[in-house]
């Protein structure tokens, strides 16, 4: 490889103004420009990549924190509601028990009253019925008495074939009845 040349110094090409620097050459201008380039690039990257992405990341974190905060608030609200609901339920249960107790008591009272009234009425009805029965019996007995009386009168009239005087009449009947009754 005799043709392999490391050009360590600038070579001038005749036809054009283009020249080639050495493979390892030092040029202060290029170093300075490179340093400037580095800082310019740093600012560009910062402006166009980091600032923008960071803004989005920050916004996302804020949103996430906001969501977490909201979730916490709604959980607390839910807890509060649950406690409230449970206490309400407890109260409602107590009230229901009270109402049922009261209703039972009322019902018992009422039924007792009804039973009492009914038995009173029954007693009263029984008494009335007995009174009625007694009356009817007395009536019937009287009717029978009268019937028998008139029958006896007729029979007696037929037997005696004469009119019995009113005085005799009454006496006869009474005698008859006395006899029949005994």
């Amino acid at each position: 490889m005799e043709g392999f040349i490391l050009l360590s110094e600038a070579t001038q090409v005749a036809e054009t103004v283009t020249e080639e620097a050495g493979l390892v050459s030092f040029n202060a201008w290029i170093v300075i420009a490179t340093i400037c380039n580095l800082f310019i690039q740093m600012l560009l990257i910062k402006k166009f990549l980091f600032k923008r992405v960071q803004a989005v990341l920050d916004k996302r974190r804020e949103l996430a924190e906001e969501d977490l905060r909201k979730a916490k608030v709604s959980r607390e609200e839910a807890d509060r509601l649950r406690v409230e609901y449970e206490s309400n339920m407890e109260q409602a249960r107590e009230k229901a028990t009270q109402i049922i107790d009261l209703a039972q008591k009322n019902a018992t009272q009422k039924s007792d009253e009804i039973i009492r009234e009914a038995s009173q009425e029954a007693v009263a009805m029984k008494a009335r019925a007995e009174a009625d029965i007694a009356l009817e019996r007395r009536k019937a007995v009287n009717e029978v008495k009268n019937e028998i009386g008139s029958m006896a009168m007729e029979i007696a009239g037929k037997v005696i074939e004469r009119e019995v005087s009113e005085q005799d009449h009454a006496r006869l009947i009474d005698e008859f009845i006395e006899k029949v009754g005994t």
Binding site: E20, A28, W29, L38, V53
Partner: protein
Amino acid sequence: MDNINIAGAKVYGYIGPDIPVLGRFPLSETLIVSWIVMLLITLLCIFLTHNMKVEKISRRQALAEWLVETANKFVIGNMGQSFAYFVPFVAALFALSVFSNLIGLLGVRSPTADLNTEAGWAIVVFVIITAQKIKASGFGGYLLGFTKPIPLLTPFNVLSELSTPISMACRHFGNILSGIVINGLIYAALAGASSALFGLIPGAVGNLLSTIPILDVGIPAILSFYFDWFTGVMQAYIFCMLTTMYIANAAEG
């Protein structure tokens, strides 16, 4: 077979006034490609971050967020939370390095194949290291640090301090340049081998085929995978890793 000419960056011309010591400003291939690289990086950033949303993000935005988070993790992991403001600097360094290394695949000359580029970066890192050391232990403490553990070692300490940026710059430059040199050599060698191999075919066919560097197709791509892709990304990573480590160590005093 022609000579293989591996030279430095082209200089297309000079502009501006002739300043003493510095001379006129060279419109070098290194700088022009650097500006193209910067433009690409900036356009990529703008492309990745336009129309960003908080929810239901696109793949583009996911990539942008991943890049930012990776850069944050890298810098904060190596340097600590107090150095979070260094993230854009290290990211710029890494992006410039990777893009400069890989732009060589497009056929232009990598800016990182010019030692001046790495020298610029290394000088910046060196200045930051020194500033952090002075901040940590004061100017007197910084100077006294060179006499530790015994004053006899002062020259070696100074040498070691100066070798930090030089080794950083040369490591990066050397790896990229070696890739270019080896690629050039392999292309030339394969062209020669191709010519010799197909020249064995007799007649006009052999003459025609021997002028076409058939072996140059494919084989260099495999080597390019290591020398361009792997080395390109690796050296950028190493440069940034060393930058963060050195600065963090300097701040510890």
